[in-house]
C-alpha cells in the first residue's frame, strides 16, 4: 500500500506537469491548428533563466517573473516571425519545422550563455526534505505543490476561457477564424495571445519540473514535450480537462509500470498508450469525434 501511494503521488505530480504542457500545446492548436514544437526549449530557457538570476542574487519571485517576461517576448517573436509566415501558405506544415528550428536555436543560445553543463536549480517552494506523513507514507510537499499549482492553473484557465470576453473570443477563433474576423474579433491578437499563454504554461512547467530534478541543462524539456503531446492526444486534442486527465493517466501509468512491472518499460509506456488511444479512440478520452459534412 505504501509503495502504491508513493507511486501514485509521484505519477499524479509528474502527470500534472505533462497536463500543463499539453494545455499549452492545445492552446495554439485551437487558434491556428499549429503546435509549438520548440515548447521544450521554452521550458528549458525559463528554468535556466530563473536558476541563473537566482544565482546572481535576485529574489526568487522576481527572477521567475523576469524569466516569464522573456518568454512572453520570445513567444511574440515565434508567432510573428516563424508561425504566421508559414500559415500564409495553405496546407503548409512549415510551422512545424520553423518552431522546431527556434527550439534548436534556443538550445544553442542557452549553451552559449549559460554553458552546456547542468546547472543546479534551487528549491522554489519547498525543498526535497519537506514532507508530511499521510497514512504512514512520507509525502513530499514538492509533489503536492506541483499538483496543487497545476490544478489551480487549469481552473483559472478554464474560468478565463469560459467566463471572459477574451475567452469567448478565443473559442470563436477556434471555431472559425474567418467568421470571427468578420464579426470584429481581433483574430491576430487572439492568436498571439494563445502563443503567449502557451509559452507561459511551458515556462511554469519548466520551473516546476526543474525544482523536482534539481538541475537543468540546455537539452532539458525535449522529452517532457513528447509526454505532453501524448497527454494532449490521450485527453483529446483541444480539451483542457482532457489534457490534465491525459497527463495524469500517462504519469501514473508510467510510475505503476515502472514500480510493479519493469523500470525499463517505464518510458515506452507513454508511447504504447499513444498508439492504443489512436487505434481505439482517436478523438481521445474527452475529445469529440469530428464530423465533416460534404
Amino acid at each position: 500500500m505504501e509503495d502504491f501511494l508513493t507511486l501514485l503521488l509521484a505519477g499524479v505530480s509528474v502527470g500534472a506537469v505533462y497536463g500543463l504542457i499539453a494545455i499549452g500545446l492545445n492552446l495554439t492548436f485551437w487558434t491556428t491548428r499549429t503546435m509549438n514544437f520548440g515548447q521544450g526549449s521554452v521550458m528549458m530557457l525559463c528554468a535556466m533563466l530563473t536558476a541563473n538570476l537566482i544565482a546572481r542574487g535576485w529574489m526568487q519571485g522576481l527572477a521567475i517573473l523576469a524569466a516569464l517576461a522573456v518568454i512572453v517576448v520570445l513567444m511574440v517573436f515565434t508567432e510573428m516571425y516563424t508561425v504566421r509566415p508559414a500559415l500564409k501558405i495553405e496546407g503548409s506544415m512549415g510551422w512545424a519545422v520553423s518552431t522546431l528550428g527556434v527550439g534548436i536555436i534556443l538550445q544553442g543560445c542557452a549553451a552559449l550563455w549559460f554553458g552546456s553543463q547542468a546547472v543546479a536549480f534551487p528549491d522554489v517552494i519547498f525543498s526535497a526534505v519537506d514532507n508530511v506523513v499521510i497514512f504512514g507514507v512520507h509525502v513530499s510537499l514538492q509533489y503536492i505543490a506541483v499538483v496543487v499549482l497545476a490544478l489551480a492553473l487549469v481552473v483559472v484557465f478554464e474560468l478565463l476561457v469560459r467566463g471572459t470576453v477574451w475567452g469567448r473570443a478565443m473559442r470563436a477563433v477556434a471555431m472559425d477564424q474567418d467568421f470571427a474576423a468578420v464579426i470584429g474579433i481581433p483574430v491576430r491578437a487572439i492568436v498571439l495571445g494563445s502563443y503567449i499563454a502557451s509559452g507561459l504554461l511551458a515556462g511554469i512547467s519548466g520551473i516546476l519540473v526543474a525544482q523536482i530534478g534539481g538541475t537543468v541543462d540546455p537539452a532539458f524539456g525535449f522529452e517532457l514535450v513528447i509526454f505532453g503531446f501524448v497527454a494532449a492526444v490521450l485527453g483529446g486534442m483541444g480539451s483542457t480537462p482532457g489534457a490534465l486527465a491525459g497527463g495524469i493517466v500517462a504519469g501514473v501509468l508510467q510510475q505503476m509500470v515502472g514500480g510493479y512491472i519493469s523500470s525499463a518499460a517505464q518510458h515506452g509506456m507513454a508511447f504504447a498508450l499513444l498508439i492504443l488511444i489512436l487505434v481505439v479512440r482517436p478523438q481521445g478520452l474527452f475529445g469529440q469525434r469530428e464530423i465533416n459534412k460534404v
Binding site: T6, Q117, V119, A120, H138, Y143, G214, T215, G258, G259
Partner: protein, 406 residues
C-alpha cells in the same frame, strides 16, 4: 681516371638526391610530433573532454619545455568535438585517421563513443591512449583476462576493477543491495560486473538491479522497487547530474539507506545538484591524486594545473587538495600523454609498431594516478590498490570528499 658522361650524370643526380634527402630529413627532424583526438569539448558532459584536453596540454607544455621528444616538439594536430555523441565520434575519428601525420591518438570520453570508434582505431594500428572510457571491452574485446587490442592502452579505472573493489566492500557489509545503473554501456557493464562481484563475495547476497535513462527527472519507480526488496544499501553506476536527481528522490521518499556511487558519480555536478544532501554519499575514486602530501610527480602536475586554471570547478571545492575525480577528468589525459611520449623516446622513432613495442615495455612510469606498467598481455594500469573510498562531508561550509571506510 676519367668519368664517362652517363656516370657523371648519375653521380651528380645521386649527390643532388642525397642532399635533398638530407635536407628533408633535417626538416622532418624539426617537424612536430602530432597527436589527435575527438572528445566532449562542449555539451552536458564536457567536464570530461575539456578535462582530458587540459591534461594533454599541460603534459605537452612540460615535454616541450624539456626539449620535446627525439628533438621534436609535440603538438595537438587535430582536436574535434563530439559532445559524447557516438555518431559524431565516428565521423570525427574517421577524419583524424585520414590524417597520416598524426602519430598518436586518444579515445573519446565515455564508453559509448569509444566503443563506436575502437574497431576503426584497432584496424588503423596507431598507438592509442584511452583516458576515460571504463568498459573493459574497449581494451579487451573478449572481456577482462582476454587478449588486449594491440595498439590501445587504458589510463581510466576499468569497470571490472572498480566493480570488484565496490562489490567486495558492499558484500562484506550488506546482504540485500539495491543496484541502479544508467542505461549506457558504462552503466550496464558496471552493474553486471558489480552483481557478479557481489555474488562471488557473498553467495547469500540479494541484489535488486534497476536501470534509468540519463537525464530522467524522476526515479521514484526504480527506488520503490529497491525499497520493496528491503535493500540495506543503494549503489548507483552513473554520472553526477543523475546522481543528484536520485539523491533528491530518495530524500523525498524518506529513504535513508546508505548511498554509494561509482567513480562517475563522485563529481562536481553531483554536489552542485544535490547540495547538502550529498553529505554521507560514499564511492570509489583515484587514491594518489588526492593524497596529502602529494607525490612529487603529482605535485608537479597539480602546480601546473593550478597555475594555469586555478582551483576551478574541475579542481573541486578545497583550494588546497584537488577532488579525486580530477584523477579521471584531467590527470588521465596528462598521464596518457607523458607515457606515450616516453614510449616514443624509448622507441627512437614515431613508427607505430616500434612505439607499441615500447609501450608494451613500459614499467614503473610514475604518473599522477599510479605507476604505469604495460605488457603485451596487459594494457590497463589502474588496479584495486590505486583506488580508495571517499565520503562527502560538509567542512567549513563546503562539501568535500574525504577518505573513509565503508
Amino acid at each position: 681516371m676519367t668519368l664517362k658522361r652517363r656516370e657523371l650524370l648519375s653521380f651528380t643526380g645521386a649527390a643532388a638526391a642525397g642532399g635533398t634527402l638530407g635536407f628533408a630529413r633535417r626538416a622532418r627532424a624539426a617537424d612536430p610530433i602530432k597527436v589527435g583526438f575527438t572528445t566532449a569539448l562542449t555539451g552536458p558532459f564536457n567536464e570530461f573532454g575539456e578535462g582530458y584536453k587540459r591534461g594533454i596540454e599541460i603534459a605537452i607544455e612540460k615535454i616541450n619545455k624539456a626539449g620535446g621528444v627525439l628533438g621534436r616538439p609535440i603538438e595537438i594536430g587535430v582536436m574535434l568535438d563530439d559532445q559524447l555523441i557516438p555518431d559524431r565520434s565516428v565521423q570525427n575519428m574517421r577524419r583524424i585517421l585520414d590524417d597520416k601525420s598524426i602519430v598518436g591518438l586518444f579515445c573519446p570520453s565515455g564508453s559509448g563513443p569509444t566503443l563506436a570508434v575502437i574497431d576503426m582505431i584497432a584496424a588503423d594500428g596507431r598507438p592509442t591512449m584511452n583516458p576515460q572510457a571504463q568498459t573493459p571491452t574497449v581494451i579487451y574485446p573478449n572481456g577482462p583476462g582476454g587478449k588486449p587490442r594491440p595498439n590501445v592502452y587504458t589510463f581510466s579505472i576499468q569497470n571490472d576493477i572498480e566493480a570488484n573493489f565496490m562489490a567486495t566492500l558492499l558484500a562484506k557489509k550488506f546482504t540485500r543491495i539495491g543496484l541502479l545503473n544508467e542505461s549506457t554501456g558504462y552503466g550496464k557493464t558496471g552493474s553486471e560486473l558489480i552483481k557478479a562481484g557481489i555474488a562471488a563475495a557473498n553467495k547469500d547476497a540479494v541484489v535488486t538491479n534497476e536501470s534509468y535513462n540519463q537525464k530522467d527527472q524522476d526515479m521514484t519507480a526504480q527506488l520503490v522497487r529497491v525499497q520493496r526488496a528491503r535493500s540495506e544499501a543503494l549503489m548507483v553506476v552513473g554520472l553526477g547530474a543523475d546522481m543528484a536527481v536520485i539523491r533528491k528522490n530518495m530524500t523525498r521518499m524518506n529513504m535513508t539507506i546508505p548511498f554509494f556511487t561509482s567513480a562517475g558519480g563522485l563529481s562536481p555536478p553531483y554536489v552542485e545538484g544535490a547540495g547538502d544532501l550529498a553529505a554521507g554519499t560514499k564511492g570509489s575514486q583515484f587514491k594518489k591524486i588526492s593524497t596529502v602530501p602529494p607525490a612529487p610527480e603529482t605535485k608537479e602536475f597539480l602546480d601546473a594545473y593550478k597555475a594555469k586554471y586555478g582551483a576551478d570547478r574541475l579542481w573541486g571545492t578545497d583550494p588546497e587538495v584537488p577532488t579525486p575525480s580530477m584523477g579521471g577528468t584531467v590527470a588521465t589525459g596528462y598521464d596518457g600523454m607523458l607515457v606515450m611520449a616516453d614510449a616514443i623516446r624509448r622507441a627512437g622513432t614515431t613508427e607505430a609498431a616500434a612505439v607499441i613495442k615500447a609501450m608494451d615495455a613500459t614499467k614503473g612510469f610514475l604518473g599522477c594516478n599510479c605507476a604505469y606498467e604495460f605488457t603485451p598481455e596487459k594494457h590497463h594500469a589502474i588496479e584495486i590498490g590505486d583506488l580508495t573510498t571517499y565520503e562527502f562531508v560538509k567542512k567549513d561550509g563546503r562539501m568535500t570528499l574525504v577518505p573513509t571506510a565503508i
